[in-house]
Amino acid sequence: MRIGRLLIEERPVPPLWIRFVIPIVSVLLGLFLGSFLIMFAKVDPLKAYYYLFYGAWGNKYFITETLVKMSPLLFTGLAVDVAFTAKFWNIGMEGQLYVGALASVWVGLTFTTLPSWLIIPLALVVAFLAGATWALLAGFLKYRLRANEVVTTIMMNYVMILLVSSIVHGPWRDPRTFWPSSPIVTRSAFLPILIKGTRFHLGVVIALVTAVVVYIILWKTTWGYSIRAVGANPKGANYAGINVVRTIVLTTMISGGVAGLAGFDQALGIQHQLIENISPGYGFMGVAVGLLSRLHPIGTIISAVFFASLITGSEMMQRATGVPVGLTYALQGIVLIVLLATMSLEKYRLRLLKGSEKGGGIKDGTL
């Protein structure tokens, strides 16, 4: 498309700097649009955002709270990174989180004689396997039976959440508590608090380590190569000799497993028991977290921190200005939509046509 001497042309591959700029632009634009909602609440947006920021980063305790909220988001974001790289649209992280929590609490209630250094890794592995298996079901449904994985994984979320609810109301119900919940897990299964006086627990560190591990897997190993190849071009991957089915199985298991770790994190790091609403939607938010970081595991850390800040900051924002906490969820949605819109713009660029270039050669780094 040409406007005078300005050419808006397609480019097949966006340069690297754009991949950083786009998320930042989306966040800023999203915050800008969100300010209209804040004004609707008759509050000064700058004031509201100030408290939002303060509530997330204002003092040592707030910072730890933000990081504590970051860990489940990081896990689910990483799950999205892995699955979406292979173009397997796993939206089932919420359910995988629940089953991971379920599995962790089971370990915490059953293996009461084990010391911390045994029971915690055990719970981690079991939670991972639980999430992996649950996700594998959706993978099987897609690749053997051609069932759309978005719909199936979302349905599976409802099923697992209800299942956990029935367990918490039923066989695991602790009769002593008012709200339905399971008994508290054995003390040795509590994820140790790393900073006294806060809720900053081992899970946060495990999440960061997991991000590095996922990064290494995706970009430094042969597994990762297969996953990326299958996501980019399954036909080409098959022709080159990659076992596509095995790769998909691998992907769904890693993705589901990591999402299961989000449940492990919440169950043994925060709640120490199984409750009905153990997750306020961390699984779904993981989609936004993963996408904002363009599916890059290390970027997902930053993205998770950002979304966590929105959540922790919003409580302070509500207390100070009256803007309801729910606004953060609206903000998340707005940022995501803006992100999608701006992501597609990276395919275009502006170029000024010089006089000599009319009908001459093209020098623009492409061939």
Partner: protein, 501 residues
């Protein structure tokens, strides 16, 4: 004489490529005008601009003397310009009538069917209006495409490489339809790269090369040889030096191989042949007679329904593509973009897609990037691949460079057998010659090569032995001398009219 169409100074640029460079083209009323050129010359692009599909960067279009701005095919059609593309734009699950009438206002489908019958009779385009497109043959589908245009009262009909999917008989029928159209006062633009057809059907011929017009001539004033020279820009060297190579033992052995195609119909029927060390075994035939399936069946991309395939004595049937590669088979696929490469990965990653899982590219599961970088740099230099770097995303490279990456990878594994399907399709002359030389080099090294190509010239000049395929069967196998002396026999076998032994 009035000009039905005049295009002046048309320039069209795609990212990284100038498809049309200041092209002037004119079409007289009632003439059949051929646009001649190799793949990538700009013929289709130019006509897509005339049909309103693309907007040129600069230039103007005049129809019957008046300047027009075509924003979409809708505009073009309203001005009486119709186009039949190389790949049919038909909707398979719908009927002929629905396909013809889509996008127009109509009363009842029955009325439309009546009008279609009338047009069909007038021009000799017989087809059942109520048939579903998926039921029709390629020739019949093309008739539907032409009827689509005629139904919309076009005066100018553009045909893009119409004969690639037709049999000999169907081509003759098409030509008589075009002559009838001419007698009814319609004008035709015939895009082709086939010299003999162009010489048969045209009144005037415009030759394009690299996006520029070389010349526009009257048929009477030129010859095939002249046109070839204009198309290619120099004396066409039809023959490459074939090296003297000692043919060794049997490498690949096919016995009675059968398989189905994607639609579940029989693609190969009891195919048997063998290929020896140092031999180039060519498969000639019109596209769609089982050649694609043959390549897939040997490389493990398609299951067999019967027969056996052995490589150096080892059974290949039921093996995975990776296992088949491991025993020494390389595959240059006919679809380099969607199969041969993973375009969204980097160049260096594409060089190792067949071996990334084993040393030296990786060790204990971890990729060795420094080795990959070295290998990529070596191959880029060795094969003269133009790329901004080893980390460039493969998608941005041109067709010739993409194919070079495929070849670099497939040939660097020292294969015993190379399956090369349409290796030079859509590539410029320079790259084409380079690739043919590479194949001959591999032959000298003792590799067995299965060369599948629609380019008969290519098959005839490179192969030691040539098999002709027709409807999934081998009609006959000829050696180099006999095939080149008796081209008519080859043509007859390709058309299914003759069988050997």
């Amino acid at each position: 004489m009035e000009l039905a169409v005049e295009m002046k100074g048309i320039t069209k640029i795609f990212p990284g490529v100038i498809a049309c460079d200041g092209v002037d083209f004119s079409l007289r009323k009632g003439e059949i005008h051929s646009l001649l050129g190799e793949n990538g010359a700009g013929k289709t692009t130019l006509m897509n601009i005339l049909y309103g599909l693309y907007k040129p960067e600069s230039g103007s279009i005049f129809l019957n003397g008046k300047e027009v701005y075509l924003r979409s095919p809708r505009d073009a059609i309203s001005f009486g310009i119709g186009m039949v593309h190389q790949h049919f734009t038909l909707v398979l699950p719908l009927t002929v009538v629905e396909n013809i009438v889509m996008g127009t206002k109509y009363g009842s489908l029955n009325l439309v069917a009546g009008k279609i019958k009338e047009l069909a009779d007038r021009y000799g385009l017989n087809v059942d209006p109520w048939a579903y497109i998926w039921q029709l043959s390629m020739g019949e589908r093309q008739r539907v495409e032409i009827l689509k245009a005629l139904y919309r009262d076009v005066d100018v009909l553009i045909l893009d490489e119409p004969t690639t999917v037709l049999t000999f008989q169907e081509t003759e029928e098409l030509f008589s339809v075009l002559k009838k159209m001419k007698s009814e006062g319609k004008s035709v633009i015939f895009i082709s790269h086939k010299l003999n057809e162009v010489m048969e059907i045209s009144d005037r011929i415009t030759v394009l090369r690299d996006g520029k017009v070389i010349n526009t001539v009257n048929k009477a004033d030129t010859s095939q040889k002249e046109l070839a020279k204009m198309m290619v820009g120099r004396e066409v060297v039809f023959r490459l030096q074939r090296p003297e190579v000692r043919i060794g033992g049997v490498v690949l052995e096919l016995k009675d191989v059968s398989c189905l195609n994607d639609k579940g119909m029989v693609a190969l029927k009891g195919v048997s042949f063998d290929i020896r060390e140092g031999e180039i075994f060519g498969i000639a035939g019109v596209a769609g007679n089982g050649q694609s399936e043959l390549a897939e069946v040997i490389t493990g991309l398609r299951p067999l329904t019967g027969g056996s395939i052995r490589l150096l004595g080892e059974d290949l049937v039921g093996r995975t593509p990776r296992e088949i590669r491991e025993v020494g088979v390389s595959h240059v696929p006919e679809d380099r973009m969607d199969v041969g490469l993973i375009l969204d990965m980097t160049v260096k990653e594409n060089f190792v897609s067949d071996r990334f899982y084993k040393p030296p590219v990786s060790r204990s599961g971890f990729l060795n990037y420094s080795y990959m970088n070295e290998l990529a740099k070596d191959l880029i230099q060795q094969y003269g691949i133009k790329t901004p770097g080893v980390d460039a995303v493969t998608r941005i490279l041109s067709g010739g460079n993409l194919q070079k990456i495929v070849l670099a990878r497939e040939l660097s594994s020292n294969p015993r057998l190379i399956v090369a399907a349409q290796p030079t399709q859509g590539l410029d002359v320079g790259t084409t010659e380079y690739i043919r030389r590479l194949l001959l080099e591999e032959k000298s090294k003792g590799a067995a090569i299965l060369l599948i190509s629609e380019d008969l010239e290519e098959v005839l000049s490179l192969s030691d032995r040539i098999a002709v395929m027709y409807e999934g069967e081998i009609m006959g196998i000829l050696d180099y001398d006999r095939a080149n002396k008796d081209i008519e026999l080859v043509g007859l076998m390709m058309a299914g009219a003759e069988r050997l032994g």
